[in-house]
């Protein structure tokens, strides 16, 4: 049984991808905001996905990634794929 990915885990990954310092949270505005409004463009999102795929051993297609518009949606997608949602 896989461990689910949590919002905090996603936040950590997103912060690493952004090259951000520890004082600012990428999810300050909330997990239901569209990624671009959080400052994550398609490349940053692709990188986030690559990290998730590596760290959690899941495979997610570009099309599926397109359907995840917010951090919450991405979390749900990954956890569904992990079988823990």
């Amino acid at each position: 049984m896989s461990t689910p990915i949590t919002l905090t885990d996603l936040e950590d990954i997103m912060r690493r991808c952004a090259g951000e310092d520890e004082t600012t949270s990428p999810l300050e505005q909330g997990p239901h905001e569209p990624f671009d409004e959080l400052g994550y463009d398609s490349l940053a999102l692709l990188e986030t996905l690559n990290h998730i795929q590596r760290d959690y051993g899941v495979q997610i297609s570009d099309d599926e990634l397109d359907s995840a518009k917010t951090p919450r949606q991405l979390l749900d997608l990954v956890n569904r794929r992990l079988g823990v949602a």
């Binding site: 952004a18 090259g19 959080l38 400052g39 463009d41 692709l46």
Partner: protein, 319 residues
């Protein structure tokens, strides 16, 4: 003011159809382009454009036109921007808006660049999620850093083969890469002949004092007459890297209240959301046309809301 990479089909067409001052300013640009402008406008407005939106023959003049026309509308509304920061061709739009070049002369510079690009080696541009210091030791001959857009976003450009080889090597090392929509290797040494070829034209074009301060994406500082009056500063732009993030960071030290995406899409304000001043709420970000995913039909309402927020006491109706 965004440049290559920000284009998408139908961009600005919604606002063009509904906002008279915007239509007027845009038509001024199309008319100044002559028959090529008439054809471009028709293609841009058509349901099935013949020229792909990523093709420089379409994207470069359209990006220029949209950046410039939106800027004109803002100025006409009484907004007094402290700085204009352009990305790639956006800096030429800023120069025209600031009156450094007459509109027709700016367009002549643009048209000459686009025509020259057609004879450059085929190549492309790729965005990499990496810092400049991670990328530089890995550069292979022919591939250059074309832009630094964010703390971990570098754009590479070069002729097709070396670029593909480099991307492959980067991916093998675990770097995330994504192609940038461009059919030419902008901001790479492959376009050096363009810089040389542009000098005679630039030397012949009169330069006027800037009516609006331009923040340079190349020097990463405000432009002075020593650059604006130097033909080789403008000639080198298609070749030199766009240091957008360093320029934006420096601009941020001037404590802006708001950063406005004065062109299509939201790509520049998306990067700007990484600024500490924006994260902390000290500086707002606003786009004028809204995200591409909302489509041209949403542009007018989005623009109206943006103006209402930007111009005190202005309940923007327009039309």
């Amino acid at each position: 003011m965004p440049g290559q990479g920000a284009q998408y089909p139908g961009m600005g067409t919604g606002l063009y159809r509904r906002l008279e001052p915007f239509r007027t300013a845009l038509d001024e640009v199309f008319d100044a382009l002559g028959p090529a402008g008439t054809a471009l406008r028709e293609d841009w407005l058509s349901a099935a454009p013949r020229i792909p939106s990523d093709d420089a023959r379409s994207s470069q003049p359209l990006l220029f036109a949209l950046d410039y026309a939106l800027g004109r509308v803002l100025l006409e509304l009484g907004l007094q921007p402290v700085y204009a920061l352009g990305h790639s061709v956006g800096e030429l739009s800023a120069a025209a808006l600031a009156g450094v070049f007459d509109l027709r002369d700016a367009l002549a510079i643009l048209q000459q660049r686009v025509a020259a690009v057609g004879s450059a080696p085929a190549g492309g541009m790729v965005a990499v999620a990496a810092t400049r210091s991670e990328i530089e030791p890995r550069l292979i001959p022919g591939v250059d850093v074309a832009a630094v857009n964010a703390p971990r976003q570098v754009v590479l450009a070069g002729p097709r083969e070396p670029l593909q080889a480099m991307v492959q090597a980067l991916r093998e090392d675990g770097f995330t890469c994504a192609p940038v929509p461009s059919q030419a290797p902008f901001h790479s040494t492959a376009l050096r002949p363009l810089a040389d070829a542009a000098l005679p034209l630039l030397k012949s074009i009169p330069v006027h004092p800037a009516q609006l301060s331009i923040f340079s994406g190349y020097t990463t500082q405000p432009l002075g007459p020593e650059q604006t009056e130097d033909p080789s500063y403008w000639a080198a732009q298609p070749v030199d890297p766009v240091l957008f993030w360093p320029a934006l960071s420096n601009l941020s030290e001037h404590e802006p209240d708001v950063l406005i995406e004065c062109g299509p899409g939201t790509s520049l304000i998306t990067h700007a959301r990484r600024l500490p001043a924006v994260r902390n709420g000290r500086c707002a970000v606003v786009s004028l046309l809204g995200p591409p995913r909302n489509g041209p039909g949403a542009e007018f309402d989005h623009f109206s809301a943006a103006i209402t927020a930007l111009v005190p006491g202005q309940d923007y109706i327009g039309g």
